[in-house]
Amino acid sequence: MEIFGVPSALFGSQLLIGLINGSFYAILSLGLAIIFGLLNIINFAHGAQYMMGAFVAWIALTKFGINYWVALLLSPILIGALGVVLERTMLRKLYKLDHLYGLLLTFGLALIFEGVFRDQYGISGQAYEVPDALKGGVNLGFMFMPIYRGWVVVAALAVCFGTWFMIEKTKLGAYLRAGTENPQIVQALGINVPLLITFTYGYGVALAAFAGVLAAPIYQVSPQMGANLIIVVFAVVVIGGMGSIMGSIVTGLGLGLIEGLTRVFYPEASAVVVFFIMVIVLLVRPAGLFGKAA
């Protein structure tokens, strides 16, 4: 069976890779969007926090024999807690200043984190084995799908939509949305906005760490794994416009798929296709697909 002259198995597997990459783009740009919404800070350390999430899972398994499922919970909690500490001790001091200082501070933090892990673990990647329960694959008829990859897509989507639900449909989410609109009034209504901000940053960072654990069995766990990914995610954010939570999820998944398709038809361009799309979107809609004009 062929699709546009390409064997369906190849077509399907590239689409699956695209969908998986898209899931990571979606979780990471969602985390960035949440943090940006309330803190007005572009969290440049997001890639490093994703990398640390993967490393916590790897260290937990190799040093302490803690399995994947525990790591999937433990790593976001640990890295999220680190995020809370960073927010309380450093980011908090910058809210009154130009937004650019937040970007610069988190960039510095990213350098520190990456440097420490590179010193400890070198630049070569570490392998993390797929957990037993998710080994093997299923034959879908037109292609063979490894179960773990299917799980990643499902888990990522579940977390993304869970977050969307929490923000759009619950009371906590309502506070959050109100806080991004007008922190002073929300504060005056007796809601602890600084605590809300701390929680938000911690949650956004935990999302990055969660993505890191999901990524560990697929990609090599290495200090650089987040550094190059984060720039693509920035492009995703520019394309999506960071206007809405749903926007970042949809844009992330969509761009992953487009990247996968490019890999089938014109592999040389797959690394830059997202940036090309960014240029086109900027020319047509400077505020991004889902963004409100500034």
Binding site: F36, I42, M90, K93, L94, L97, H99, L100, Y101, L103, L104, L105, F107, G108, L109, A110, L111, I112, F113, E114, G115, V116, R118, D119, I231, V232, F234, A235, V237, V238, E268, A271, V272, F275, F276, M278, V279, L282, L283, P286, A287, A294
Partner: protein, 318 residues
């Protein structure tokens, strides 16, 4: 009171520049010239960056693209087409200027953090081109770029001759930046940085001025990159990698954002630190750079030169 201080600065500035110029002339006889050339190249790069961030308030996170692409263009011109070094430098500078125009047209449609992210993403595209295109040598970069003869006459393989070329290039670039800042154009840039809506309401075509500043900054960053390629006879991926874009932000921030000499001081400190530490502490260089970054942002946002100026000002008042 501040009027007095400003005139104090104005009177001291020519003296300071004169002294620095003399130091620059005799320096290669006291310090290893290659090290000085590195500082001057990165110093010019940082000054060009500061023209944009410090005076127009535009944070470009993609300036490595201009440094690196000018380096590649200059290297290809000199090595593969056999042109003389000055033609290579001019070619690299022009290429960076054109690239800067393309980036600028796309990026100035958004401001603030978006501007930074767009320039970063665009520069990552340049990185992938440098990595995948055969002519740029991929992972190896362009190696064995000859320094050649300046105007076909002066042999640049002599380190002292090369140093004076770099020094001249730096002085020209620095002079252009200095002139630009102290011209009506520079005043308009400052007005835009301080209050963009007001500048618009005064009737200035803000986008045009921003774009002009961006192109100028990109071309001067390219001038630094092309010269650097001749000095080290190499154009490599390091110069187009986004870490380099971060490094130039660090140099500028550490030296003093929006000060004339700050970026040069910042470049000097960072280059010295890197060459001192590189073989001693390995990966900790990155950690130390990150720590300096964090400390600059949290504790002394005015940078080294900015803090010194503030001290002088305070002393003047008392």
């Amino acid at each position: 009171m501040s009027q007095n201080n400003n005139s104090l600065f104005a009177r001291a500035t020519p003296l300071l520049f004169g002294a620095l110029f003399v130091i620059g002339l005799v320096a290669p006889f006291a310090v290893y010239p290659t090290f000085l050339m590195k500082i001057l190249c990165f110093g010019l790069f940082a000054c060009a960056f500061n023209l944009l961030l410090g005076f127009a308030g535009l944070l470009s996170f993609g300036h490595a693209a201009f440094l690196g692409s000018a380096g590649y263009v200059c290297g290809m011109l000199v090595r593969d087409l056999g042109v003389t070094p000055e033609v290579g430098i001019i070619g690299g500078t022009l290429a960076a200027g054109v690239l800067g125009w393309v980036f600028g047209v796309l990026a100035i449609r958004r401001s603030g953090i978006y501007f930074a992210m767009i320039t970063l993403a665009l520069s990552q595209m340049v990185f992938f081109f440098a990595l995948q295109w055969k002519a740029t040598g991929g992972e190896d970069g362009l190696q064995g770029v000859p320094r050649g003869h300046l105007f076909g006459l002066i042999d640049l393989n002599n380190n002292i001759a090369m140093y004076y070329l770099v020094f001249a290039v730096f002085c020209i670039g620095f002079f252009i930046i200095h002139r630009a800042i102290h011209s009506p154009f520079g005043q308009i840039l400052k007005a835009i940085r301080e209050n963009e809506p007001r500048a618009i309401s005064l009737g200035y075509d803000v986008s045009k001025y921003k774009l002009l500043a961006f192109v100028l900054s990109a071309a001067l960053a390219g001038l630094a990159g092309a010269t650097k390629t001749l000095v080290f006879q190499l154009a490599s991926l390091t110069d187009v990698h986004w870490h380099m874009s971060g490094e130039v932000v660090l140099m500028t921030l550490l030296g003093g954002l929006g000060t004339i000499l700050g970026p040069l001081v910042g470049a000097g400190v960072i280059v010295s630190l890197q060459s001192e530490l590189a073989d001693k502490v390995g990966s900790w260089v990155t950690v130390i750079m990150g720590l300096i970054f964090v400390l600059c942002v949290l504790l002394f946002r005015r940078g080294i030169v900015g803090e010194i100026q503030a001290l002088i000002r305070r002393a003047g008042i008392n």
